[in-house]
Protein backbone atom coordinates (compact mmCIF):
# COMPACT_ATOMS: atom_id res chain seq x y z
CA UNK A 1 0.00 0.00 0.00
CA UNK A 2 1.28 3.40 -1.00
CA UNK A 3 0.14 5.79 1.75
CA UNK A 4 1.77 8.74 0.03
CA UNK A 5 -0.32 8.18 -3.09
CA UNK A 6 -3.48 8.39 -1.00
CA UNK A 7 -2.39 11.78 0.34
CA UNK A 8 -1.47 13.03 -3.12
CA UNK A 9 -4.80 11.98 -4.60
CA UNK A 10 -6.75 13.56 -1.76
CA UNK A 11 -4.82 16.80 -2.12
CA UNK A 12 -5.32 16.95 -5.89
CA UNK A 13 -8.89 15.68 -6.33
CA UNK A 14 -10.37 16.53 -2.90
CA UNK A 15 -13.79 17.83 -3.96
CA UNK A 16 -14.19 15.43 -6.87
CA UNK A 17 -13.93 12.27 -4.77
CA UNK A 18 -17.29 10.57 -4.33
CA UNK A 19 -16.11 8.46 -1.41
CA UNK A 20 -13.10 7.72 0.76
CA UNK A 21 -9.92 6.48 -0.91
CA UNK A 22 -9.54 2.82 0.03
CA UNK A 23 -6.33 0.83 0.03
CA UNK A 24 -5.85 -2.91 0.27
CA UNK A 25 -2.96 -5.15 -0.74
CA UNK A 26 -1.31 -3.39 -3.68
CA UNK A 27 -4.35 -1.46 -4.82
CA UNK A 28 -5.55 2.10 -4.26
CA UNK A 29 -9.14 2.83 -5.10
CA UNK A 30 -10.83 6.17 -5.71
CA UNK A 31 -14.45 6.87 -6.58
CA UNK A 32 -15.62 9.73 -8.72
CA UNK A 33 -18.84 10.76 -10.40
CA UNK A 34 -19.21 10.02 -14.12
CA UNK A 35 -19.10 13.74 -14.91
CA UNK A 36 -15.52 14.08 -13.63
CA UNK A 37 -14.01 11.15 -15.53
CA UNK A 38 -12.49 13.24 -18.33
CA UNK A 39 -10.85 15.72 -16.00
CA UNK A 40 -9.55 13.11 -13.55
CA UNK A 41 -8.15 10.80 -16.21
CA UNK A 42 -6.49 13.68 -18.01
CA UNK A 43 -4.90 14.91 -14.78
CA UNK A 44 -3.71 11.42 -13.84
CA UNK A 45 -2.28 10.85 -17.30
CA UNK A 46 -0.67 14.24 -17.93
CA UNK A 47 0.53 15.62 -14.62
CA UNK A 48 4.18 14.89 -13.96
CA UNK A 49 3.66 13.74 -10.35
CA UNK A 50 1.15 11.07 -11.41
CA UNK A 51 2.25 9.83 -14.89
CA UNK A 52 -0.44 7.13 -15.12
CA UNK A 53 0.40 6.42 -18.73
CA UNK A 54 -0.89 2.91 -18.98
CA UNK A 55 -4.53 1.95 -19.01
CA UNK A 56 -4.34 -1.62 -17.77
CA UNK A 57 -8.02 -2.38 -17.86
CA UNK A 58 -11.43 -0.84 -18.41
CA UNK A 59 -14.43 -2.75 -17.12
CA UNK A 60 -18.12 -2.22 -16.76
CA UNK A 61 -19.84 -3.37 -13.57
CA UNK A 62 -23.52 -3.78 -12.78
CA UNK A 63 -24.01 -3.66 -9.01
CA UNK A 64 -27.73 -4.44 -9.28
CA UNK A 65 -28.66 -0.88 -8.33
CA UNK A 66 -26.49 1.15 -10.66
CA UNK A 67 -23.66 0.83 -13.15
CA UNK A 68 -19.98 1.56 -12.78
CA UNK A 69 -17.06 1.96 -15.14
CA UNK A 70 -13.80 0.83 -13.58
CA UNK A 71 -10.38 1.92 -14.85
CA UNK A 72 -7.13 0.34 -13.68
CA UNK A 73 -4.07 2.46 -14.24
CA UNK A 74 -0.34 1.86 -13.88
CA UNK A 75 2.38 4.39 -13.26
CA UNK A 76 6.08 4.22 -12.47
CA UNK A 77 5.50 6.82 -9.72
CA UNK A 78 3.83 4.33 -7.39
CA UNK A 79 3.96 0.65 -6.52
CA UNK A 80 0.16 0.37 -6.47
CA UNK A 81 -2.46 -0.29 -9.09
CA UNK A 82 -4.78 2.70 -9.17
CA UNK A 83 -8.44 1.84 -9.54
CA UNK A 84 -10.69 4.70 -10.60
CA UNK A 85 -14.39 3.87 -10.22
CA UNK A 86 -16.84 6.08 -12.06
CA UNK A 87 -19.79 5.37 -9.83
CA UNK A 88 -23.51 5.94 -9.89
CA UNK A 89 -24.46 5.53 -13.56
CA UNK A 90 -28.20 4.95 -13.82
CA UNK A 91 -29.28 1.48 -14.91
CA UNK A 92 -31.90 2.88 -17.29
CA UNK A 93 -29.54 5.04 -19.32
CA UNK A 94 -25.93 4.56 -18.22
CA UNK A 95 -23.64 7.15 -19.76
CA UNK A 96 -19.98 7.90 -19.23
CA UNK A 97 -17.39 9.88 -21.16
CA UNK A 98 -15.06 7.90 -23.38
CA UNK A 99 -11.39 7.43 -22.50
CA UNK A 100 -10.39 7.23 -26.15
CA UNK A 101 -9.07 10.79 -26.13
CA UNK A 102 -6.15 9.52 -24.04
CA UNK A 103 -5.98 5.85 -24.94
CA UNK A 104 -7.16 4.86 -28.40
CA UNK A 105 -6.91 1.28 -27.17
CA UNK A 106 -9.85 1.87 -24.84
CA UNK A 107 -12.12 1.84 -27.88
CA UNK A 108 -12.67 -1.90 -27.98
CA UNK A 109 -12.86 -2.21 -24.22
CA UNK A 110 -15.63 0.37 -24.28
CA UNK A 111 -17.33 -1.45 -27.11
CA UNK A 112 -17.24 -4.56 -24.96
CA UNK A 113 -18.72 -2.72 -21.98
CA UNK A 114 -21.42 -1.34 -24.27
CA UNK A 115 -22.14 -4.78 -25.66
CA UNK A 116 -22.31 -6.45 -22.26
CA UNK A 117 -23.85 -3.72 -20.09
CA UNK A 118 -25.35 -1.14 -22.44
CA UNK A 119 -23.13 1.64 -21.13
CA UNK A 120 -22.93 4.48 -23.64
CA UNK A 121 -19.50 6.06 -23.89
CA UNK A 122 -19.84 9.57 -25.19
CA UNK A 123 -17.03 10.40 -27.58
CA UNK A 124 -16.27 6.85 -28.69
CA UNK A 125 -16.36 6.91 -32.48
CA UNK A 126 -17.16 3.25 -32.92
CA UNK A 127 -19.62 2.25 -30.23
CA UNK A 128 -21.30 -0.82 -31.70
CA UNK A 129 -21.60 -4.38 -30.47
CA UNK A 130 -18.36 -6.30 -30.60
CA UNK A 131 -19.16 -9.89 -29.57
CA UNK A 132 -22.90 -10.26 -29.94
CA UNK A 133 -24.61 -10.06 -33.36
CA UNK A 134 -25.77 -6.61 -34.50
CA UNK A 135 -29.46 -7.46 -34.16
CA UNK A 136 -29.10 -8.64 -30.57
CA UNK A 137 -31.08 -6.62 -28.06
CA UNK A 138 -30.08 -7.75 -24.53
CA UNK A 139 -27.08 -6.88 -22.43
CA UNK A 140 -25.82 -10.26 -21.20
CA UNK A 141 -23.68 -9.29 -18.22
CA UNK A 142 -26.39 -7.25 -16.53
CA UNK A 143 -27.58 -8.82 -13.33
CA UNK A 144 -31.19 -9.10 -14.53
CA UNK A 145 -30.04 -11.25 -17.46
CA UNK A 146 -30.38 -14.71 -15.96
CA UNK A 147 -29.02 -17.86 -17.44
CA UNK A 148 -31.80 -20.40 -18.02
CA UNK A 149 -30.06 -23.01 -15.92
CA UNK A 150 -28.91 -20.68 -13.18
CA UNK A 151 -30.08 -23.04 -10.49
CA UNK A 152 -27.61 -22.14 -7.80
CA UNK A 153 -29.23 -18.92 -6.73
CA UNK A 154 -32.86 -19.74 -7.29
CA UNK A 155 -34.97 -19.23 -4.16
CA UNK A 156 -36.79 -22.48 -4.84
CA UNK A 157 -33.50 -24.29 -5.33
CA UNK A 158 -34.62 -25.36 -8.77
CA UNK A 159 -34.13 -24.24 -12.31
CA UNK A 160 -34.86 -20.59 -12.94
CA UNK A 161 -36.66 -20.19 -16.22
CA UNK A 162 -36.48 -17.10 -18.33
CA UNK A 163 -39.63 -17.79 -20.28
CA UNK A 164 -42.85 -16.80 -18.54
CA UNK A 165 -44.72 -19.84 -19.74
CA UNK A 166 -42.24 -22.13 -18.03
CA UNK A 167 -41.90 -20.14 -14.82
CA UNK A 168 -42.23 -22.15 -11.62
CA UNK A 169 -45.53 -21.94 -9.72
CA UNK A 170 -44.22 -19.43 -7.18
CA UNK A 171 -43.62 -16.87 -9.91
CA UNK A 172 -46.27 -17.79 -12.45
CA UNK A 173 -48.82 -15.13 -11.60
CA UNK A 174 -46.27 -12.39 -10.79
CA UNK A 175 -44.82 -9.87 -13.19
CA UNK A 176 -42.15 -10.85 -15.64
CA UNK A 177 -39.53 -8.99 -13.61
CA UNK A 178 -37.05 -11.39 -12.04
CA UNK A 179 -37.82 -12.18 -8.40
CA UNK A 180 -34.34 -11.58 -7.02
CA UNK A 181 -31.28 -10.24 -8.69
CA UNK A 182 -27.90 -10.25 -7.09
CA UNK A 183 -27.05 -6.90 -5.62
CA UNK A 184 -23.76 -5.70 -4.30
CA UNK A 185 -23.92 -4.34 -0.76
CA UNK A 186 -22.48 -0.95 0.01
Amino acid sequence: MDRALKGRLEARFGAMLAGPIRQRHDETEMRIGPGDVTEVLRALHDEPDFRFEMLSDLAGVDTGDHMQVVYHLWSDSTADWLRVIADGLSREDPRAPSATFLWKGAEWMEREAYDMFGITFEGNRDLRRIYMPPDYTSFPLRKDFLLPDDAARSPGGGVRHMERGHAPASRAEGSDAPDTIRRLGA
Binding site: R24, H25, D26, E27, E29, E53, M54, L55, S56, D57, A59, V61, D62, V70, H72, W74, D76, A79, W81, R83, L102, W103, K104, G105, A106, E107, W108, M109, M116, R125, D126, L127, R128, R129, I130, Y131, M132, P133, P134, P140, L141, F145, L147, D150, A152, R153, R182, R183, L184, G185
Partner: protein, 409 residues
Protein backbone atom coordinates in the same frame (compact mmCIF):
# COMPACT_ATOMS: atom_id res chain seq x y z
CA UNK B 1 -26.75 -1.40 -62.41
CA UNK B 2 -30.11 -3.07 -61.91
CA UNK B 3 -30.73 -6.71 -61.28
CA UNK B 4 -32.15 -8.55 -64.30
CA UNK B 5 -35.89 -9.03 -64.12
CA UNK B 6 -37.16 -12.51 -63.41
CA UNK B 7 -39.69 -12.45 -66.20
CA UNK B 8 -37.42 -11.39 -69.04
CA UNK B 9 -34.85 -13.55 -70.78
CA UNK B 10 -32.63 -15.29 -68.21
CA UNK B 11 -28.99 -14.22 -68.25
CA UNK B 12 -26.34 -16.84 -68.50
CA UNK B 13 -25.20 -18.46 -65.27
CA UNK B 14 -21.85 -16.72 -65.23
CA UNK B 15 -23.29 -13.22 -65.58
CA UNK B 16 -22.08 -11.38 -62.45
CA UNK B 17 -25.39 -9.53 -62.25
CA UNK B 18 -27.13 -12.76 -61.29
CA UNK B 19 -25.38 -12.56 -57.95
CA UNK B 20 -27.03 -9.25 -57.16
CA UNK B 21 -30.39 -10.95 -57.10
CA UNK B 22 -29.83 -12.94 -53.93
CA UNK B 23 -30.32 -11.81 -50.35
CA UNK B 24 -27.39 -10.27 -48.57
CA UNK B 25 -25.89 -12.98 -46.39
CA UNK B 26 -23.44 -13.29 -43.56
CA UNK B 27 -20.45 -13.11 -45.86
CA UNK B 28 -21.45 -9.88 -47.53
CA UNK B 29 -18.87 -7.36 -46.31
CA UNK B 30 -21.28 -4.43 -46.48
CA UNK B 31 -23.64 -4.48 -43.52
CA UNK B 32 -27.29 -4.69 -44.56
CA UNK B 33 -28.30 -1.84 -42.28
CA UNK B 34 -27.57 1.85 -42.11
CA UNK B 35 -24.22 2.53 -40.40
CA UNK B 36 -24.57 2.82 -36.64
CA UNK B 37 -21.44 4.79 -35.84
CA UNK B 38 -19.27 7.48 -37.30
CA UNK B 39 -16.41 5.07 -37.82
CA UNK B 40 -18.59 2.46 -39.51
CA UNK B 41 -19.99 5.04 -41.91
CA UNK B 42 -16.46 6.19 -42.70
CA UNK B 43 -15.19 2.66 -43.24
CA UNK B 44 -18.01 1.43 -45.44
CA UNK B 45 -18.00 4.50 -47.66
CA UNK B 46 -15.80 3.66 -50.60
CA UNK B 47 -13.59 6.25 -52.26
CA UNK B 48 -12.53 6.26 -55.85
CA UNK B 49 -11.06 2.93 -56.91
CA UNK B 50 -11.50 1.33 -53.50
CA UNK B 51 -13.07 -2.02 -52.79
CA UNK B 52 -13.91 -4.20 -49.82
CA UNK B 53 -12.53 -7.68 -49.38
CA UNK B 54 -13.64 -10.18 -46.81
CA UNK B 55 -10.98 -12.28 -45.14
CA UNK B 56 -12.17 -15.12 -42.99
CA UNK B 57 -13.87 -16.21 -40.79
CA UNK B 58 -12.41 -19.52 -41.94
CA UNK B 59 -8.99 -18.46 -43.05
CA UNK B 60 -6.00 -20.73 -42.44
CA UNK B 61 -3.83 -17.98 -40.99
CA UNK B 62 -6.18 -16.01 -38.76
CA UNK B 63 -5.11 -18.22 -35.82
CA UNK B 64 -8.71 -18.95 -34.99
CA UNK B 65 -12.05 -17.80 -36.23
CA UNK B 66 -11.75 -14.16 -37.16
CA UNK B 67 -13.27 -12.14 -39.97
CA UNK B 68 -11.45 -9.07 -41.22
CA UNK B 69 -13.00 -6.72 -43.74
CA UNK B 70 -10.23 -5.06 -45.73
CA UNK B 71 -10.66 -1.80 -47.56
CA UNK B 72 -8.36 -1.93 -50.54
CA UNK B 73 -6.93 0.51 -53.00
CA UNK B 74 -5.37 -1.73 -55.61
CA UNK B 75 -3.27 -4.10 -53.58
CA UNK B 76 -2.80 -1.69 -50.69
CA UNK B 77 -4.83 -1.98 -47.52
CA UNK B 78 -6.28 1.42 -46.70
CA UNK B 79 -8.17 0.40 -43.60
CA UNK B 80 -9.56 -2.71 -41.97
CA UNK B 81 -12.42 -3.67 -39.72
CA UNK B 82 -12.05 -6.86 -37.65
CA UNK B 83 -15.34 -8.56 -36.89
CA UNK B 84 -15.24 -10.58 -33.67
CA UNK B 85 -17.60 -12.82 -31.79
CA UNK B 86 -17.35 -16.10 -33.67
CA UNK B 87 -15.84 -17.78 -30.61
CA UNK B 88 -17.64 -15.81 -27.91
CA UNK B 89 -18.67 -18.12 -25.10
CA UNK B 90 -19.55 -15.64 -22.38
CA UNK B 91 -16.85 -16.84 -20.01
CA UNK B 92 -17.33 -13.88 -17.66
CA UNK B 93 -21.00 -14.71 -17.24
CA UNK B 94 -20.21 -18.38 -16.73
CA UNK B 95 -17.68 -17.44 -14.04
CA UNK B 96 -20.27 -15.35 -12.22
CA UNK B 97 -22.45 -18.44 -12.08
CA UNK B 98 -19.73 -20.84 -10.99
CA UNK B 99 -18.10 -21.13 -7.61
CA UNK B 100 -14.57 -19.92 -7.05
CA UNK B 101 -12.93 -23.29 -7.73
CA UNK B 102 -14.92 -23.89 -10.90
CA UNK B 103 -13.73 -20.60 -12.36
CA UNK B 104 -10.29 -22.12 -13.01
CA UNK B 105 -11.66 -24.66 -15.45
CA UNK B 106 -13.85 -22.01 -17.10
CA UNK B 107 -10.97 -19.67 -17.89
CA UNK B 108 -8.63 -22.41 -19.11
CA UNK B 109 -9.76 -22.50 -22.76
CA UNK B 110 -9.36 -18.74 -23.22
CA UNK B 111 -5.76 -18.82 -24.38
CA UNK B 112 -5.42 -22.44 -25.29
CA UNK B 113 -1.77 -21.98 -26.26
CA UNK B 114 -0.75 -20.87 -22.79
CA UNK B 115 -3.51 -21.92 -20.44
CA UNK B 116 -1.49 -21.62 -17.26
CA UNK B 117 -1.43 -17.86 -17.58
CA UNK B 118 -5.20 -17.69 -17.91
CA UNK B 119 -5.48 -19.57 -14.63
CA UNK B 120 -2.82 -17.57 -12.91
CA UNK B 121 -4.39 -14.11 -12.82
CA UNK B 122 -7.84 -15.15 -11.44
CA UNK B 123 -6.11 -17.33 -8.88
CA UNK B 124 -4.04 -14.39 -7.61
CA UNK B 125 -7.09 -12.14 -7.55
CA UNK B 126 -9.06 -14.66 -5.48
CA UNK B 127 -6.13 -15.15 -3.12
CA UNK B 128 -6.13 -11.41 -2.55
CA UNK B 129 -9.86 -11.48 -1.82
CA UNK B 130 -9.32 -14.30 0.67
CA UNK B 131 -6.06 -12.95 2.15
CA UNK B 132 -4.36 -16.33 1.66
CA UNK B 133 -0.63 -16.82 1.82
CA UNK B 134 0.49 -19.27 -0.82
CA UNK B 135 3.25 -21.70 0.25
CA UNK B 136 6.58 -20.84 -1.29
CA UNK B 137 7.00 -24.23 -2.92
CA UNK B 138 3.68 -23.73 -4.71
CA UNK B 139 4.82 -20.31 -5.94
CA UNK B 140 8.04 -21.80 -7.30
CA UNK B 141 6.13 -24.59 -9.03
CA UNK B 142 3.84 -21.98 -10.58
CA UNK B 143 6.76 -19.99 -11.89
CA UNK B 144 8.49 -23.12 -13.17
CA UNK B 145 5.47 -24.44 -15.04
CA UNK B 146 4.49 -20.96 -16.21
CA UNK B 147 7.88 -20.28 -17.75
CA UNK B 148 7.80 -23.66 -19.48
CA UNK B 149 4.44 -22.73 -20.92
CA UNK B 150 5.84 -19.39 -22.05
CA UNK B 151 8.62 -21.14 -23.95
CA UNK B 152 6.12 -23.49 -25.57
CA UNK B 153 4.03 -20.51 -26.65
CA UNK B 154 6.95 -18.51 -28.02
CA UNK B 155 8.33 -21.58 -29.80
CA UNK B 156 5.01 -22.04 -31.51
CA UNK B 157 4.95 -18.34 -32.38
CA UNK B 158 8.19 -18.76 -34.29
CA UNK B 159 6.64 -21.45 -36.44
CA UNK B 160 3.40 -19.60 -36.99
CA UNK B 161 5.04 -16.38 -37.92
CA UNK B 162 7.27 -18.08 -40.46
CA UNK B 163 4.28 -20.00 -41.81
CA UNK B 164 2.36 -16.79 -42.38
CA UNK B 165 5.35 -15.39 -44.24
CA UNK B 166 5.37 -18.49 -46.41
CA UNK B 167 7.95 -20.76 -44.79
CA UNK B 168 6.82 -24.27 -43.94
CA UNK B 169 9.88 -25.74 -42.24
CA UNK B 170 10.08 -23.72 -39.00
CA UNK B 171 6.66 -24.80 -37.77
CA UNK B 172 7.73 -28.44 -37.99
CA UNK B 173 10.79 -27.60 -35.91
CA UNK B 174 8.95 -25.49 -33.40
CA UNK B 175 6.43 -28.25 -32.81
CA UNK B 176 9.27 -30.51 -31.72
CA UNK B 177 10.11 -28.05 -28.95
CA UNK B 178 6.51 -27.43 -28.04
CA UNK B 179 5.67 -31.12 -27.97
CA UNK B 180 8.44 -31.90 -25.52
CA UNK B 181 7.24 -29.18 -23.15
CA UNK B 182 3.61 -30.14 -23.55
CA UNK B 183 4.42 -33.76 -22.71
CA UNK B 184 6.35 -32.53 -19.70
CA UNK B 185 3.44 -30.44 -18.49
CA UNK B 186 1.09 -33.34 -19.19
CA UNK B 187 3.17 -35.43 -16.80
CA UNK B 188 2.84 -32.68 -14.19
CA UNK B 189 -0.77 -31.62 -14.64
CA UNK B 190 -2.45 -34.54 -16.39
CA UNK B 191 -3.47 -32.49 -19.44
CA UNK B 192 -1.72 -31.50 -22.62
CA UNK B 193 -3.43 -28.19 -23.29
CA UNK B 194 -6.10 -27.16 -20.80
CA UNK B 195 -4.10 -27.84 -17.70
CA UNK B 196 -6.52 -26.90 -14.89
CA UNK B 197 -3.53 -27.07 -12.58
CA UNK B 198 -3.42 -23.96 -10.40
CA UNK B 199 -5.64 -23.89 -7.35
CA UNK B 200 -6.66 -21.05 -5.10
CA UNK B 201 -3.93 -21.29 -2.45
CA UNK B 202 -1.48 -23.46 -4.36
CA UNK B 203 -1.24 -26.00 -7.14
CA UNK B 204 -2.97 -29.29 -7.78
CA UNK B 205 -0.03 -31.69 -7.53
CA UNK B 206 3.59 -31.77 -6.52
CA UNK B 207 6.48 -32.27 -8.92
CA UNK B 208 6.73 -35.90 -9.89
CA UNK B 209 9.45 -38.18 -11.15
CA UNK B 210 8.35 -38.27 -14.77
CA UNK B 211 8.14 -34.50 -15.01
CA UNK B 212 11.54 -34.01 -13.42
CA UNK B 213 13.27 -36.57 -15.60
CA UNK B 214 11.73 -35.13 -18.77
CA UNK B 215 12.63 -31.61 -17.66
CA UNK B 216 16.23 -32.55 -16.81
CA UNK B 217 16.57 -34.28 -20.14
CA UNK B 218 15.24 -31.26 -22.03
CA UNK B 219 17.19 -28.67 -20.01
CA UNK B 220 20.48 -30.39 -20.80
CA UNK B 221 20.08 -29.52 -24.47
CA UNK B 222 17.45 -26.76 -24.49
CA UNK B 223 19.73 -23.80 -25.07
CA UNK B 224 21.64 -25.51 -27.84
CA UNK B 225 18.45 -26.78 -29.47
CA UNK B 226 16.81 -23.38 -29.46
CA UNK B 227 19.92 -21.67 -30.79
CA UNK B 228 19.98 -24.11 -33.68
CA UNK B 229 16.27 -23.58 -34.35
CA UNK B 230 16.87 -19.85 -34.48
CA UNK B 231 19.45 -20.16 -37.21
CA UNK B 232 16.60 -21.33 -39.44
CA UNK B 233 15.11 -17.85 -39.47
CA UNK B 234 17.57 -15.36 -38.02
CA UNK B 235 20.03 -15.97 -40.83
CA UNK B 236 17.41 -16.33 -43.53
CA UNK B 237 17.71 -13.28 -45.70
CA UNK B 238 14.25 -13.61 -47.24
CA UNK B 239 12.64 -13.74 -43.81
CA UNK B 240 14.68 -10.90 -42.32
CA UNK B 241 14.17 -8.58 -45.27
CA UNK B 242 10.46 -9.32 -45.35
CA UNK B 243 9.90 -8.79 -41.63
CA UNK B 244 12.11 -5.73 -41.18
CA UNK B 245 10.19 -2.47 -41.26
CA UNK B 246 6.86 -4.28 -41.46
CA UNK B 247 4.06 -2.96 -39.23
CA UNK B 248 6.03 -0.31 -37.37
CA UNK B 249 4.61 1.37 -34.28
CA UNK B 250 6.39 3.88 -32.06
CA UNK B 251 6.43 4.11 -28.26
CA UNK B 252 3.78 6.77 -27.92
CA UNK B 253 1.52 4.94 -30.36
CA UNK B 254 1.94 1.65 -28.54
CA UNK B 255 1.07 3.22 -25.18
CA UNK B 256 -1.90 4.93 -26.77
CA UNK B 257 -3.13 1.59 -28.10
CA UNK B 258 -2.74 0.09 -24.58
CA UNK B 259 -0.29 -2.50 -25.89
CA UNK B 260 1.67 -4.61 -23.40
CA UNK B 261 4.10 -7.50 -23.42
CA UNK B 262 6.64 -8.16 -26.18
CA UNK B 263 4.77 -5.90 -28.59
CA UNK B 264 5.27 -2.92 -26.30
CA UNK B 265 8.83 -3.87 -25.36
CA UNK B 266 9.71 -4.02 -29.07
CA UNK B 267 9.14 -0.25 -29.13
CA UNK B 268 11.62 0.35 -26.34
CA UNK B 269 9.49 0.46 -23.18
CA UNK B 270 10.90 -1.95 -20.57
CA UNK B 271 7.45 -2.70 -19.16
CA UNK B 272 7.20 -6.25 -17.89
CA UNK B 273 4.66 -6.90 -15.12
CA UNK B 274 7.11 -9.33 -13.52
CA UNK B 275 9.38 -6.35 -12.86
CA UNK B 276 7.03 -3.36 -13.07
CA UNK B 277 4.57 -4.74 -10.55
CA UNK B 278 6.11 -7.92 -9.14
CA UNK B 279 3.99 -10.89 -8.14
CA UNK B 280 4.73 -14.44 -6.97
CA UNK B 281 8.48 -15.04 -6.41
CA UNK B 282 9.79 -13.07 -9.37
CA UNK B 283 11.58 -10.51 -7.15
CA UNK B 284 13.85 -13.35 -5.95
CA UNK B 285 14.78 -14.43 -9.47
CA UNK B 286 17.45 -12.94 -11.65
CA UNK B 287 16.49 -12.25 -15.25
CA UNK B 288 16.62 -9.42 -17.76
CA UNK B 289 13.80 -7.66 -19.54
CA UNK B 290 15.00 -7.45 -23.14
CA UNK B 291 13.83 -4.49 -25.20
CA UNK B 292 14.33 -3.36 -28.76
CA UNK B 293 13.70 0.01 -30.31
CA UNK B 294 12.64 -0.70 -33.91
CA UNK B 295 8.98 -1.54 -33.16
CA UNK B 296 8.59 -3.64 -36.32
CA UNK B 297 7.68 -7.27 -36.90
CA UNK B 298 11.28 -8.40 -36.86
CA UNK B 299 11.84 -6.72 -33.48
CA UNK B 300 8.78 -8.42 -32.06
CA UNK B 301 10.04 -11.77 -33.32
CA UNK B 302 13.61 -11.32 -32.05
CA UNK B 303 12.35 -10.12 -28.68
CA UNK B 304 10.28 -13.23 -28.15
CA UNK B 305 13.26 -15.40 -29.01
CA UNK B 306 15.33 -13.46 -26.47
CA UNK B 307 12.62 -14.10 -23.89
CA UNK B 308 12.91 -17.84 -24.42
CA UNK B 309 16.52 -17.61 -23.23
CA UNK B 310 15.49 -15.57 -20.19
CA UNK B 311 12.80 -18.14 -19.38
CA UNK B 312 15.40 -20.91 -19.47
CA UNK B 313 17.44 -18.87 -16.99
CA UNK B 314 14.42 -18.56 -14.69
CA UNK B 315 13.68 -22.30 -14.88
CA UNK B 316 17.28 -23.05 -14.00
CA UNK B 317 17.08 -20.83 -10.92
CA UNK B 318 13.71 -22.30 -9.90
CA UNK B 319 15.19 -25.78 -9.94
CA UNK B 320 18.11 -24.69 -7.76
CA UNK B 321 16.06 -22.63 -5.29
CA UNK B 322 12.98 -24.88 -5.05
CA UNK B 323 12.11 -25.08 -1.34
CA UNK B 324 10.51 -28.04 0.41
CA UNK B 325 7.12 -27.80 2.03
CA UNK B 326 3.42 -27.94 1.32
CA UNK B 327 1.95 -27.09 -2.08
CA UNK B 328 -1.48 -25.96 -0.88
CA UNK B 329 -2.60 -23.47 1.74
CA UNK B 330 -5.20 -24.75 4.17
CA UNK B 331 -8.54 -23.53 2.88
CA UNK B 332 -12.12 -24.69 3.29
CA UNK B 333 -13.79 -26.52 0.43
CA UNK B 334 -16.37 -23.77 -0.09
CA UNK B 335 -14.81 -20.35 -0.34
CA UNK B 336 -16.76 -17.32 0.77
CA UNK B 337 -14.43 -14.30 0.62
CA UNK B 338 -15.38 -11.16 2.48
CA UNK B 339 -17.06 -8.55 0.26
CA UNK B 340 -14.38 -6.62 -1.56
CA UNK B 341 -12.56 -6.04 -4.78
CA UNK B 342 -9.25 -7.31 -6.07
CA UNK B 343 -7.20 -6.80 -9.19
CA UNK B 344 -4.36 -9.01 -10.29
CA UNK B 345 -2.17 -8.76 -13.38
CA UNK B 346 0.48 -11.11 -14.64
CA UNK B 347 2.90 -11.13 -17.55
CA UNK B 348 1.88 -13.75 -20.06
CA UNK B 349 3.63 -14.63 -23.31
CA UNK B 350 1.38 -12.18 -25.18
CA UNK B 351 1.29 -9.40 -22.63
CA UNK B 352 -0.58 -8.50 -19.53
CA UNK B 353 -3.43 -10.74 -18.45
CA UNK B 354 -5.47 -9.34 -15.64
CA UNK B 355 -8.52 -10.12 -13.59
CA UNK B 356 -10.76 -7.78 -11.67
CA UNK B 357 -12.87 -9.75 -9.22
CA UNK B 358 -15.66 -8.48 -6.97
CA UNK B 359 -16.92 -10.57 -4.09
CA UNK B 360 -20.30 -10.03 -2.45
CA UNK B 361 -19.69 -12.53 0.34
CA UNK B 362 -21.23 -15.52 -1.41
CA UNK B 363 -19.46 -18.53 -2.89
CA UNK B 364 -19.62 -17.15 -6.44
CA UNK B 365 -17.79 -14.10 -7.76
CA UNK B 366 -20.15 -11.16 -8.17
CA UNK B 367 -18.25 -9.90 -11.18
CA UNK B 368 -15.18 -11.23 -12.86
CA UNK B 369 -13.60 -9.18 -15.56
CA UNK B 370 -10.94 -10.85 -17.69
CA UNK B 371 -8.57 -8.64 -19.62
CA UNK B 372 -6.80 -10.41 -22.42
CA UNK B 373 -3.81 -8.98 -24.29
CA UNK B 374 -4.75 -10.60 -27.62
CA UNK B 375 -7.93 -8.53 -27.70
CA UNK B 376 -5.98 -5.31 -27.27
CA UNK B 377 -3.30 -6.20 -29.78
CA UNK B 378 -5.75 -7.24 -32.46
CA UNK B 379 -7.24 -3.78 -32.21
CA UNK B 380 -3.94 -2.17 -33.15
CA UNK B 381 -3.68 -4.16 -36.39
CA UNK B 382 -5.70 -1.36 -37.98
CA UNK B 383 -3.00 1.13 -37.01
CA UNK B 384 -0.10 -1.09 -38.09
CA UNK B 385 -1.65 -2.06 -41.40
CA UNK B 386 -1.99 1.37 -42.99
CA UNK B 387 -0.62 1.30 -46.55
CA UNK B 388 0.74 -2.23 -46.41
CA UNK B 389 -0.02 -4.92 -48.95
CA UNK B 390 -2.74 -7.56 -48.54
CA UNK B 391 -0.07 -10.23 -48.31
CA UNK B 392 1.33 -8.47 -45.24
CA UNK B 393 -1.96 -8.42 -43.31
CA UNK B 394 -1.53 -11.89 -41.93
CA UNK B 395 2.19 -11.41 -41.38
CA UNK B 396 1.61 -8.33 -39.24
CA UNK B 397 -1.23 -9.99 -37.41
CA UNK B 398 0.94 -13.04 -36.74
CA UNK B 399 3.76 -10.85 -35.42
CA UNK B 400 1.37 -9.55 -32.75
CA UNK B 401 0.62 -13.18 -31.81
CA UNK B 402 -3.10 -12.97 -30.98
CA UNK B 403 -5.05 -16.08 -30.00
CA UNK B 404 -8.69 -15.90 -30.95
CA UNK B 405 -9.84 -17.91 -27.95
CA UNK B 406 -8.65 -15.04 -25.79
CA UNK B 407 -9.91 -12.31 -28.09
CA UNK B 408 -13.45 -13.61 -28.12
CA UNK B 409 -13.66 -14.79 -24.49
Amino acid sequence: MTAPSRTGPQPSADDPRVMLDRDIGVFEPVPPYPPRTEREAEFYTLGDGQMLLNMGPQHPSTHGVLRVVLKLDGEKVVDLDPVLGYLHRGVEKLCENADYHQVISQVDPLEYISSLFCEWSPVIAFEKLLDVDVPRRAEYIRVLSGELNRIASHALFMGWFALDLGGLTPILWSFIERDEIVEMLAALTGQRMLFNYFRIGGVNGDLNHEFMSRLGDWMSRATKQIESNLTLLNQNEIFVRRARGLGVIDTAGALRMCMTGPNLRATGVPFDVRRAHPYSVYPELDFDVPTRTEGDSLARYLLRMEEIKQSIRIIDQCLHQMPDGPIMAKLPRLLRPRPGRAYAAIEGPRGQYSTYAISDGTDQPFRMRIHDPSFIHLQSVGVLMQNNLIADTMAIMASLDPVMGGVDK
